[in-house]
Structure formats: C-alpha cells, structure tokens
Symmetry: C2
Subunit: 258 residues, 2 copies
C-alpha cells in the first residue's frame, strides 16, 4: 500500500484509527470462551474486526499474544490476517513484533512477515543499528516501522529518537519507513514532526494508556494525514458481556476521528 | 540453572561453546532434505545436537529461522528443545529472539519462552528501556540476556553498552541477567569486564563472523567462567556432505576450549 492509498483510506473512513489486536484468552468475554483457547481468540478477533472495520484504517496484531498460544497461535494469526484481507480489503496490516536483529536474521523476519503472513508493515526495535531495518525496506509498498519514542515510563532510559529517526531517514523514504512515536507526550510530537515532516507515525498509548487522540492529531498530522493512531485494550475489551463487539464498535467510532 | 551449575558444566566439558541453531532449509545438505522443510530442519537439528553435545555447554536456536517456517516451525522449535532436554540434560538453552517490548507484552514473551518452551534464557533488545527486561527477571534460575554491544558493523549507530549494562545491573543480579557482548572487538571486552565483573556474557561473532575465541577468553573470562561463546554457521554448516554431523563435531571440539 502506498502512502497515497493510506491517505485516501483516512479520508474515506474519516479516521486515523488502528485497532490493536492484543487478544488474550484470559481476558475474553465468557460467552466466547468455548473450545480451545486458539479457537476462541480467532472467533473473538473476527467479531471485533467485522464490528470495527467501518471505523478504522488499520489492524495491528501484537505477536506476543499469538506466540503465547504456541504453534496454534500462529495459525490464529494467519487466519486473522486472511479474514481481514478477504472480508475487509484495503486495511493496513501491522505486525507488532518489535523485532531487532541484523543480517540474515533480519532478512528472514522480513520474509516471514511480508511473504508468509502478508503484513504491510512490521514494528522494529532499532538498538542494534540501521541494519535492523534494511531488509524490510526492499519490499515495495511495505514498511519498516521503527520505534523512535515509545509511550512507557522508561522510554527515556536508552531511547534516542532524534538520532534514530535521522539516521533511518538517510537510508529510507516515506514510502518504506514509518516511526513509532508515543502519544503520552503529545506535546513533544510537534517538535518530532519538525525533524521528520513526511513519514507516517504509528502512535501507541491512546486509550487505556492515557494519550489523547485529538491532541495527537493537532500536534502530529501532516498534509498526507501522517498518523496511524493505535488503541488496543480500550476498544477490544470495551465490554466483557455478550455485547463486546458492538461496544468495541462504539468506542472505535469515537476514537481518532478526523 | 544457576551460574554455579553453568560454571560446573564449563569445567566438565572444558568448553564455553554455545552452538547456534540458525537452521535454514535452503542451506541443509541434500542428503537430509527429503520430506517437508520442517521435518528436514528437525532431523538436521537432532543430528547436529547429538554430534556436538560432548563439546558444548549450550544451544541457541534463533527464532527467526523457526518462525520463517510458519506454524510448523514452532513445532520444530518445541521438538528441538524437547530433544535436548531429554537426550542431553544439563545444557543451557537460549532463545535468540531479540525481543524488545514492555508491560503486558514483555510478560507474555517471558511466559512463552520460559513456560511454554522451557528455555533457560532469552535475548532482548533494550531500546525501550529497563522495563523490557523486568518480567524475565522473575523466573528463578532463568535469565534475560540483554544486548549491550553487538558484533555487526552498525553496532555504533545507537548502542550505549555502558549505560545499558549499568542500568540493567541496578535491577538485576548475575543470577538472572546476562549480556550480549560482541566478539568482533575482543579488545574492548577487557574494558567491558571492568564495568561488569560478575555477569555472564553471551559472545556472538566467533567463527563465520571472524571473532577469535582464544582472545575472547583471554579478555573476557572471570572466576566463574563468565562466558558463553556462540558459533553458528561455522559449526552447523561445516560440511554440506553426508558427513555434516561429524564435521560439525570436529569444529565444535576445537572451538572455545578451556
């Protein structure tokens, strides 16, 4: 997907929302828990996706939640991606994997997420250097999303957002590189946008983590939209009753509207 | 496994060697390629493990290589771990995953690698802060192995080994924390050992990447041993003929001897 297509999707949906599929069996509504944990997670994902698709531009499964189910979890991931591709074409699909390796290992991760699973983008942890992103940049229409500034309290421990963004921009374009920029400090988004006017930002930390989507848009949008605003728990666990899908849709409809 | 048990294993085997199971179907000897790629990788791993077990203290499957096989790959990973646990008890098992996430996501990764798969340790990419390691420190006898200094050319882009090690040491002990310290700069190992006298280091970059194990031991060992020296390709792909297992054993027997 090109950034122009992503911008069209934002305009068409009047939304910058990405629904984070951090689906954990223990947190599912009782009404959907029958059968194996893997089956329950898949059924839940499909209902959440069908209910929210009108109100979002992207979905972001968090790999940890699928790997925790063992080999069956990767089947759930595969079928979740297939369901989105088949029933809701045009969505931007992000593998939230925070992979951060180099050389042959990075090349294999790129092949896995882009070829085996057909994701549009993968999140990466850049500690080991610019090399962590290179193999992901070789797939036209697909993206590395490098963590620049995260939304956790300890983000200041070792993160160097300006250095990471500037060095990554030297080897990439806005058509193959995006950045994770946390929303819990939305005032700093304005400054970060000056370093990097053209790339899309994936913004976590809205919803359960306390970030405010309106402030994020005011401080971080660019002429192409430029933002994918993620909310996970506040949407998918909006209700623990049998109305979980409608409740998710209602929250999604109000989040990151433009 | 305690560090004392790991030290005993080093003394018993007269070796600090970790065999990296970066097993890629395309690189396997033709004689073992029959059946599905996943089956071939598993058969290859078992033969390599049985041939090298006398000469090493640890095995390190690289997750990228198993995830690249899709859901079947995780079954191969599971069965590889089971084979080592059953046939060669007492080996230190490292999941080379370079995970780097926080909060609930990090907790799930810890549970997956330590409970679902029974690894002794997991490699982590620390960009997002000290929080990336915390959930991994809560399992007695198991370890976070945090990347401090890697062995790739771009390691200087964003890495801050002294800062990462010192901050991680504030929240951990040598009984639950190790560090990745690349061997391609073995002279700097001596300095790094002064910052961190007691923790074990996992040292990649020996063998195919050019690091010299003798120099690593001279500069980095401590009174407990303190080193796990990894070699992957130079051992597992020592021969592409039907003698691949004996060839792997011969290289393993000469690598990281003490």
């Amino acid at each position: 997907m090109t950034t122009e297509e992503l911008h069209s999707s934002i305009l068409r949906h009047r939304s910058m929302l990405c629904v984070g599929l951090d689906t954990e069996w223990a947190k599912l509504p009782d009404c959907i828990k029958g059968g194996s944990p893997a089956d329950a997670v898949l059924r839940f994902n499909k209902e959440i996706i069908d209910a929210t698709a009108s109100y979002c531009i992207a979905y972001k499964p968090n790999l940890a939640f699928y790997e925790a189910l063992g080999p069956e979890g990767l089947r759930v991931l595969e079928e979740t991606v297939d369901h989105i591709r088949t029933s809701h074409p045009g969505k931007f699909l992000i593998a939230d994997a925070k992979r951060g390796d180099i050389g042959n290992t990075a090349r294999l991760y790129a092949r896995t997420f882009f070829e085996t699973y057909d994701f549009d983008a993968v999140t990466l942890s850049p500690y080991m250097g610019v090399e962590t992103a290179l193999p992901f940049l070789e797939y036209p229409g697909r993206y590395a999303i490098v963590v620049a500034l995260s939304s956790n309290p300890g983000s200041a421990d070792f993160e160097q957002p300006e250095k990471v963004m500037k060095k990554m921009m030297e080897v990439s374009t806005p058509e193959n590189m995006m950045f994770v920029v946390g929303a819990t400090k939305s005032s700093s988004l304005k400054e970060i946008r000056t370093w990097c006017p053209d790339n899309f930002f994936l913004v976590p930390g809205v919803g359960a983590q306390g970030g405010n989507a309106e402030e994020v848009i005011a401080n971080g949008a660019n002429s192409r939209g430029g933002l994918i605003i993620n909310s996970s728990r506040a949407i998918i666990y909006a209700s623990s009753g049998s109305d979980f899908a409608q409740a998710a849709a209602a929250v999604a409809a109000k989040t990151a509207r433009v």
